[in-house]
Every structure is written in C-alpha cells, then in structure tokens.
C-alpha cells in the first residue's frame, strides 16, 4: 500500500534524538536515504513537552506541540509530520485531539501563539505519523522485501512498543479500524516491517507494557522492576534482541538492564536495538552508519554470531 504522499514529509526529531537517542536519529535518516524518502526537518523546532510539562499544565504541552505543527504547516507547507519518538508522536496526537475537542485548550493555544508571534495551529492542518507509519505507508512490506540485501533471517526479535504509541487509544482515531490499520491492544507495524526484513519475530506478551520511563530517575527502583519484567519476558520468549521505536524506552531498557544487575543482582543478556538500526542493517547499511556503536547493550558480538553482520 505504498502512498507517495509520504515520500517527502516534515521530520520532527525532538530533543531526545539530539541527546541520548542520537543513534535513533542517525539510523532514521540513514534508512530514509537508503529508501529514497525525503525528510525535511521542522525549522527551529521546540520541545513537545515530553512527559513532564503536562504535570505542570497540560495546556502548555498542547501549545508546545501545536507550535511544531504550525511551523510544519504554515512556514514549510507540509501536511505530514513524522516523529520517531513515541513521546513527541503522542504529544502531537494529543494536541491534535485536544484542539479538536476542547475549547479551553484551543483558547490557551491561540493566546500563547499570538503572544509568541506565530500563526496558531488549526486542527487538521497536518497528519502526525510515527516512524513506523512512515515506513509502512511509503514503502510497505513489499517494498522492503524487494530492497533487503542482508536478511535478518535467524535473528529472534521481540518487538517492544511501550505505552505512548497506543495509549490512551482515543487520541489515535486512525487505529483499530480493521485490516491494514494499527491495533492499540496488539500493535504489529514493527513486527510487519522487521518480518519483511527477514527477522524471526518471537511471541512477546509485553509489547505494550510500561518501562516506567516517566520515573526513570525519580523512582528508579520501580522503573528497574518494570524494565526487568520486559527483559526477562523477552529472554523467556527466546529473543536475541528487543527492537524499540522510542528513545525513552530504549534508553530506559539499556539503563535499567545495568541497574538491575548492580542493584538487584539480576543479569540479562538480551540486546536492545532501534528498529531503524535493524532495518538499516537489513538494507545493507554498515552498522556504524546506523549508530550501533552507540548502543549500551553492545550488540555487535551477537549480530556477528547470528551472521547478520
């Protein structure tokens, strides 16, 4: 179901992809280039509010996210914005929902936008998509299959989607619409993409479990326990690697894998890679090109063992 509407779109990396999640940024761009997909970075973007600003006031978060969409639509003329980070993606979707359904959010956004001196974002101006939608909708599984140079065959993958990609489901009106659409209870876009790249996806029960990312520092023990559940469930299902699609989840899994060992004495060996890194490798890109050397879980040895690289 390739749709060329998605061949040149606005790209909103967000703060995490310029910091701890830089390998996700590198690999997303490298995959786009390899597939001939154009990404135009949103000019002079700001933080979407992440998980924190809403706890001060959700309407500020709506404003922050709306500014990003306003620039993409009104200053760059785009009607699709792609955000690879679950947090950014979620917040842009939430802002879209609130600006459609809540007068109060609309008023505050109008007020802050006019004081800040830019056009107010109007609901419906852009479609916000995740990096998973981007690959699915522009290239699709068939497109991937025809471009795979280095099949991931033999690599056992647990696909981990986390919270913000599917919850709360009311902010994702396009999901759960039957065949071809994403499911909020059993998401499968990443499974589909990596399956097309040759990977052996394992049956993984904790696809949408929470990694405790919101309290990764403020309540670290809770986060460590939640991450440990995920890592152990992945190992029990036979996975070599957990594929991620969110910088917060990814860093959380890496960090609490170490913390679980230091604090609770529980060691897990499953590797953690962004789905864009795996896809890039399958498309024949050099692992360095997709930032694998930045991964804390050091997956190169395992990838060599499985004859992937």
């Amino acid at each position: 179901m390739a749709d060329n509407k998605y061949n040149l779109i606005a790209y909103y990396p967000g703060c995490a992809l310029e910091g701890t999640g830089s390998a996700y940024n590198t690999s997303t761009k490298a995959v786009g280039k390899a597939l001939g997909l154009g990404l135009e970075e949103v000019k002079n973007w700001n933080c979407c509010g992440a998980m924190e600003v809403k706890n001060i006031d959700p309407k500020i978060q709506t404003y922050l996210s709306s500014r990003v969409m306003s620039i993409a639509a009104n200053e760059m003329g785009h009607d699709v914005v792609m955000a690879p980070c679950n947090g950014c993606y979620h917040n842009l979707k939430k802002a879209e929902y609130d600006l459609t359904h809540d007068e109060g959010s609309k008023e505050v956004t109008e007020r802050l936008s006019s004081k800040a001196g830019h056009a107010t974002y109007q609901a419906g101006q852009v479609e916000t998509i995740h990096a998973l939608d981007w690959i699915k909708k522009s290239i699709g599984e068939d497109g991937i299959k025809s471009r795979v140079k280095n099949s991931l065959s033999g690599l056992k993958v647990a696909n981990y989607y986390g919270c913000m990609y599917t919850r709360p489901r009311h902010i994702f009106p396009e999901k759960d619409k039957g065949p071809g659409t994403e499911s909020t209870s059993a998401p499968h876009f990443m499974d589909d993409i990596l399956d097309a790249a040759g990977a052996d996806n394992v049956d993984f029960a904790l696809k949408t479990a929470c990694c405790g990312g919101a309290h990764t520092l403020s309540d670290s023990d809770t986060s460590t326990k939640l991450v440990l559940n995920i890592l152990q469930a992945a190992e029990e299902s036979g996975a070599d690697v957990i594929a991620t699609e969110c910088p917060t989840c990814h860093t959380g899994l890496e960090m609490h894998q170490i913390r679980a060992e230091k604090r609770f004495g529980v060691k897990t060996n499953v590797k953690i890679l962004y789905f864009t890194q795996l896809l890039g490798i399958a498309l024949g890109l050099n692992p360095r090109k997709v930032g694998v050397h930045e991964n804390v879980s050091k997956p190169m040895g395992m990838l060599r063992e499985r004859r992937i690289v």
Partner: protein, 263 residues
Amino acid sequence: MPIHEKSLIRPENLSTHDNLTIDGVDVSGDWSTFIKARVVQDYNEDLQDEIAALPGGENIHRCWQCGSCTNACTVNALNPDFNPRLWIYLIRMGFEAELVRDKDIIWQCVSCNKCTSACPRDVVPEGVMKATAHWLELKGYTPKTPSTEFDEIFSNQVIHTGKIEDGAVLLGFFRRTGQSPFQDWVIQMGKQLAMGLPIRMLMRMGLATLFHPRTRGWDRARAAIEEYVEEQEAAHRKALGLGGSSHDPHAPRQAQPIPQAAE
C-alpha cells in the same frame, strides 16, 4: 469485596483479648475479635471539587467504581496498595484523612495510561493521580516528591530555552535531590557508552553541556507561558482555599530521599 470494608478495617482497628470469659464461655483469642467502632466526622465536602479544579482531575465525578483502572494498573501489579479506584472513591466521599494515609505512594503513577484506555467512563484516572499528587503537595501533606522536582527542572528548561538537553536535566535532578551523579550504575552506563564512542562524539557531548541547545527567538513564547503559569498557580491555590501567592520558586526545599533497594 465492597469498598468501605476494605478501606475501613485496618489492623489497628481490630482488637482481641488473650484471656476473656463472658458468661462462663471462654472467648480468648480469635473468638473475641472486635472491630472498633469508628465514626467519621472529618468529611471534606469540597474534596472532589478541589481535585477537579487541578489539571487532570476534571472528570473525576464521572467514575462509577468499576475498578477497571486498578485492574489494568502497572504500579498496582508491583504494589497492591496502589489503588486508583479506591482513591477516587475516597475523594468522592470526602474521606480526606483516609486518602492522606497513602500520600507517599500516590505520586508513583508512571503515566502509562493503561487505566485511561481501560476506563469506560472517560475519567482519565492517570490525570486524577497527577491532580491528587499535586493536591497533596499544595495542601502541605507531602514535601515536593522527586517526581515533581524532576517535572519542574525539566519544564523550567523547556519554558526558558524551548528545548531540553538531557545531561543538564540529569545533573540538575541529582543536585536538587541531593544524590551523587556518580552512582555505580551511572558510572557503568557511562563506561559502556564511552567504549564504543569515537572521540569526536565525546567532544560533541561535552560541548553540549556548555552550549545548551535552544530555540531561536523563544523569548516571547517564554514570557507568554510564564504569565500563563502564574495565573494558573494562583487559580489553583484559590480553588483549594489557600491564601497568598505561590511559594518562592528559588527557596531551598527539603528534598525527600529517593527510595532505594537494599544493597
């Protein structure tokens, strides 16, 4: 189990006598268990309205106590005392004292929104948890929790510069909560990270802590947001019947120790 029994019969409200004979019948031990009479007079009739006045709490009145939120809850699976359905009940009944018993765990909600997706009544229990945690702080029942400290450091940086630089947030958080940034797992993570990184990348990371990323021309947005935040803070205090302006944001605060696992 009906809700009230669960919350009202606590171990300290039970009494048994080791040696007791009534009318010639020996009722020692379990046979003489009594539940102490309990009279609730300390209702806060405004409690639901107070929570509803804070961001996230708006829909609390819609709850019909089905329990789907607690059933779906991530934190409840780790700690059965973490019970959003029960807290919503206590708030709606005005049982302030009962609610405050759980003041040290309510903030632990990880915002996974499993409850919000499960709730058949659009209560947004996740929002109610945040509003309740905020309420406990505003009322002075708890010092600022580590979660609020983190939210504030983070949000202040976004409001000031438009962007986030994770290194600065991390250091700011450790400083404000009195923790050492040199904890064993942080060091280990740094080591494993540095192993695969070329020198150029390390230099770039070093530079990022000196030159913070920022959105150009952000001053007007910043002023507009700050003005709005001040208005909202005043409105929240008013709704809770608290006088005066909000506390001095720069005043030193007593940081709560972070719960740590046994070594």
